[in-house]
Each structure stands twice: as structure tokens, then as C-alpha cells.
Symmetry: C2
């Protein structure tokens, strides 16, 4: 840090303020840029600098998310992260930003200011993100998110293999015409699951038929409408892969209203294994569980390894972990 201060022509305190982005430090933009230029010129790893500034561990980890804490979908990521943290005597400090970049910047500054040992950055569903500079300046792991430039370690569900497995199970149960109710929103989940579905069909030499692949809103009403439409096509499918359990719930309603039996007339498989839906439908919904708890655990464990390990060699690859999604068999196939 002394070298950086000398190269930038500022005090060590100023370097510390700039690197930690301390609010209200009143440092001119030109000075900030000079400090960062020196950091880059000298080839410092910001992580190492941040670690050097830390007098000792505070035994706290920051968990910054868009809406993981407020929506009813991915809370088990927090549970897994929390349990992994507690096992090693660390406390998790959560900030939910609502996805607002200004709040996120403030949250990161506040947590760094409070000297958290590192940060888990989580999104409520699998997304590709562009990490802010603040995030790249601390030890951080992405949870259910991937950095567009691969610059940060991350853990996400293996969407493609999950859909491959689910589709293969329906094929194995004798279904040759399997419809797919996908989400209309572009996402790594939507494209990955479509790829896995196609690969499973190919593996069994079953033709891909675009007419029984539909995009809909990823909620119960979207699934209901899309399933009704699919039931009505010429040569309808006998099985449905659904992008999530909510779509599957809507499909159930559409099928049961036509007196179609599940799984006798129609097999249905969802994604999520949501506790309020999958085991509560009648018959119980077979589905692919997103490993939220396990991903949360992994993110904290990996973060602690990065913090406690020796300074990583520049050539050490950044880990991008795709986690297997277990298939949960109930009564719908």
C-alpha cells in the first residue's frame, strides 16, 4: 500500500479510503483515478490490498442480494450460506438491495466499511451479471449469478443437465411426445433447460417439434393458458416439462378441468421443488430441485477458503461451479 501511495502521490489513508470507497471521504475524482491507476500499474490484486488493510478478521460475511430475502423462492440460499458461516463461527450480515445499483453501491461500501471478511453476491434467480468495481475490490463469490467476464468465482445450477435428466426420465417412462412450457423471459435457465431438453430428445432419436414448445409467463396463470393451448393441438403431447413448479401448477389445473388424469393421461415435471407447490399438488409433482441450500453453503465455504488461503496465484483459475440439480420423484410421471 505504501508503494501505491507513493506512486499516486497521496497518503496511505487516502489509498485506504479510495480502495474501500469510504463514503463522505471527500476525495476528488482525479485523485481516486490516480490511486486506481497506481494500483493497476503496480499489479496489485485489489483483494490482497483489501486484506492487507484489514487489521484482523471481524468474523462477519456480507451477503448482498437483489431480492433473495424478500421473495418466496430462494430463501434456502440464505439458509445454506448462514449454516456454512455459523459452522465456522462467522455471522452473515445480509443486505437486500432490490436490484437498485445506488443501493447496492451503498450496501457494498457499508459492509466494506464495517470490515466484513468477504462478500457473497446473490441473485434471486440464475443471472449473468457485470460485477461493479466495488465488488471486484473485495474477496467475493457470486451465488446463482455468473460474471459476464468470468472475473469472479460463482456457483449456479447446471440447468442443461437438469433438463436432460428430467426429459430422459419421461422418455424412459415411454413418452415420445413431450411438450415444453418454457419461460418467455430470456435467461440462462430458459436457454439451458431448452438445450438439455433438446439433447435428451436427440440422445433417444426423438424428433424435436417446435410446435409443442411454448413460452409463457413463469407463473401459474401462464402455465394454465399454455397447457390449455397445447392440449388442443393436433397430435397433442402426453407429457409436459415445465420451466417451474408454478407453470406446472397451472398445467395441473388445465388438465384436471378436462378430466385428464395425471400421470395416466399426462406426465408433468416441474422445476424448483418449491415447498408450497410441488409436495402440495395432488398427485405430488415430480420436479427438479434447484440446489439453493447447497449453492448457498458452497458460496460461503469457497469464500472462506479464498479468505483464509494464501494469496491466490494470479494464474489460479477462478472457479465457475455448475451444481447438479437433483430430480425429485413424486407421483406425476
Amino acid at each position: 500500500m505504501r508503494d501505491v501511495a507513493r506512486a499516486a502521490g497521496v497518503s496511505q489513508t487516502t489509498v485506504s479510503f479510495v480502495i474501500n470507497d469510504v463514503p463522505d471521504a471527500h476525495i476528488a475524482q482525479a485523485t481516486r483515478e490516480r490511486v486506481w491507476a497506481a494500483v493497476e500499474r503496480l499489479g496489485y490484486r485489489p483483494n490482497a490490498i483489501a486484506r492487507g488493510l484489514r487489521r484482523d478478521t471481524t468474523d462477519t460475511i456480507g451477503f448482498v442480494s437483489d431480492a433473495v430475502a424478500t421473495t418466496p423462492f430462494a430463501g434456502q440460499m440464505i439458509q445454506g450460506a448462514q449454516d456454512a458461516a455459523w459452522e465456522q463461527g462467522k455471522l452473515l450480515l445480509l443486505v437486500n438491495t432490490g436490484g437498485d445499483p445506488a443501493v447496492e453501491a451503498r450496501a457494498l461500501a457499508t459492509l466494506v466499511d464495517r470490515r466484513v471478511d468477504g462478500i457473497v453476491y446473490a441473485t434471486m434467480y440464475h443471472r449473468v451479471v457485470t460485477p461493479s468495481r466495488q465488488l471486484r475490490e473485495v474477496t467475493a463469490v457470486l451465488l446463482d449469478a455468473e460474471a459476464a467476464d468470468g472475473s469472479l468465482p460463482s456457483v449456479v445450477p447446471d440447468e442443461e443437465s437438469a433438463a436432460f435428466t428430467a426429459t430422459s426420465i419421461m422418455l424412459g417412462a415411454g413418452h415420445q411426445r413431450i411438450g415444453f412450457l418454457n419461460s418467455a423471459d430470456a435467461s440462462p435457465a430458459a436457454s439451458g433447460r431448452l438445450a438439455g431438453y433438446r439433447r435428451a430428445l436427440e440422445a433417444r432419436v426423438v424428433p424435436f417439434d417446435e410446435s409443442i414448445v411454448r413460452s409463457c409467463r413463469a407463473v401459474q396463470g401462464g402455465g394454465y393458458d399454455a397447457a390449455r393451448a397445447l392440449i388442443g393441438v393436433e397430435d397433442p403431447p402426453t407429457a409436459l416439462l415445465c420451466f417451474n413448479d408454478q407453470i406446472a401448477m397451472g398445467a395441473y389445473q388445465a388438465l384436471l378441468e378436462r378430466n385428464l388424469k395425471i400421470p395416466g393421461d399426462f406426465a408433468v415435471v416441474g422445476f424448483d421443488d418449491h415447498e408450497l407447490i410441488a409436495p402440495c399438488l395432488r398427485p405430488g409433482l415430480s420436479t427438479v430441485a434447484l440446489p439453493h441450500y447447497e449453492m448457498g453453503w458452497w458460496a460461503v465455504e469457497h469464500l472462506l477458503e479464498l479468505i483464509e488461503g494464501s494469496m491466490p496465484d494470479r494464474r489460479t483459475p477462478v472457479v465457475q461451479h455448475r451444481m447438479r440439480c437433483p430430480y425429485v420423484a413424486r407421483q406425476s410421471v
Copy 2:
């Protein structure tokens, strides 16, 4: 604080450490007790002391909960608290304790150590709690929880008036025999809703019949079994008040399996207005919304009033707020 230090025969730093319960401060139990005795003898309000210790505001609020962030039920309390905090430029730091008293103690110490301006203490469902001494030593508001001794301000749903309204609406729709599927777990919600149900019957001079009031597990499977049993009794009800939307979901399944029409043959009302259940059932479930968002907002707003207001007069009553629960009409009555 100087007076307390002098009366206890210790340094002001020791008083500060004891009052903030700073971890690893290595202060003998006897000394701690002497400090607290002096605090009480001198009639200090711990809140005021805590405020005095604070050099300035940190613009952060602690949000400590058992499992609000990890379960899919009350996340909107966090959303409301967060929005109210942000509106006043405050950041919410969340810690989820899983209900573990040791973790809670550590969480409170960590947040006080990081000089949060105050703490919202939330439970995932309406509970009566005994606040720890740590909590009583800071400015705190209880959210969806009440202090057994009324020592802290709190906001909870008005369970009784909510059940009174829901029952009255079914009576107004012509139902005279209204069953009640209550939760088997004793709680302010279970007792309050039963009281409101009874009061509504009394108000219309409809006899209370214990045989159509059942307790069950407050999940879909519990509601399914209890509803099946109630349908089979002699002189069955024509309407069901359900403790929550999950029980109502199970009741729907039991009714539809017997080809009973909702609302033609049976009216059903739930509690929660859970986004994954109430609007997703067919027909849409009429239900009582728990004002999670509004309670979260209120808790932070009240906390900030307490922090920013002058030191409250000792005679100022501690506010215990019961919040109205709006009835959400859909198609099930």
C-alpha cells in the same frame, strides 16, 4: 455515563463495554453486575445511554429475525422495512438467527458493535417473546412479535378483528354453518382468530358448534385431511374459515375431489394472501391478507421516530400497535 462509572467504581470504557456487551471484553461478571446495578439505581434509561455512546448516526438499522429471510412466508416484512429505511436514507442490515439464542446474542452484539442506530426484531409469525437484556439496551421495535411484559414497542396483526370480518362476510353471504380449520399449534394467531370467529357468530346470534371447529397442522396436507373429515359429519358446514392459505389449498382439493363446487356448495376463506397460493387456486381464494409489508414499514418508521425524537418521557406509554388485516375478495365466497 460518567455518573454510572463513578457509582460503579469503574472506567467509562468499562461501562460502555458492559452496556454494549462487547464480545471478548474480558470483564468479570461481578463488575458487569455492579455496572447494571448503578444503571438501575441512577434511573438511567439504557436507550439513552446507548444513544449517548453513539458519536453520530451510522445511518444503518439492524433487522434481527428468526427465519423471516429464509422461509417463504413473511419476506414482505423485510421489503416494507427496507423501503421505509431507504426512504429516510438508512440501510437495513439483516441477520437471520434461526431462532438460536446464542446466535441471536452474537447478532445483537455484532450489530451494536457496528453502531446501528436501532434494531427491528422480527419473528416469522406472530409470537409472544421475552426480549433479551441486550435487546432492551438498545432502541428496538418488535415486528410480528409482542413482548410478554409489554416492555418494547411492537406491531402485530389484529387477528381477532380479521377473523371477525372474514366470518361476518360468510354469514352475510347466507352461510349459517361455518366450520373453522384452525392451527393445532397454540399461538396468538390461533387464539385470536378463534375469538374473532366466535364473536362474529355471537353478533349474528348463530350458535357456536365445537364439532365443526377442527385443529390441524397448518399445511396443505393438514387442511386436506381436516376438510375431508368435516365434509363427512352429520349436518356438515357449507363454509370453511381456514387458519391459512395452505389449509385452504388442502380444503379445495378435498372439496373438488368430492365434486363439491366452490363457492356454490362450499365457501372457503383463508388467511395470508400468499402470492403463490391465494391468486393461483381455481377459483381464486378469498382470504385475509396479513399486512406484512405495512407492519415492516411501520416498525422502521416508529423506530426512527424513537431514535430521532427527544428522549421519551418515562411516562410515555410504549406503543403496542395492532394492525388491521384487509380482506381480499376473490371468487371463493
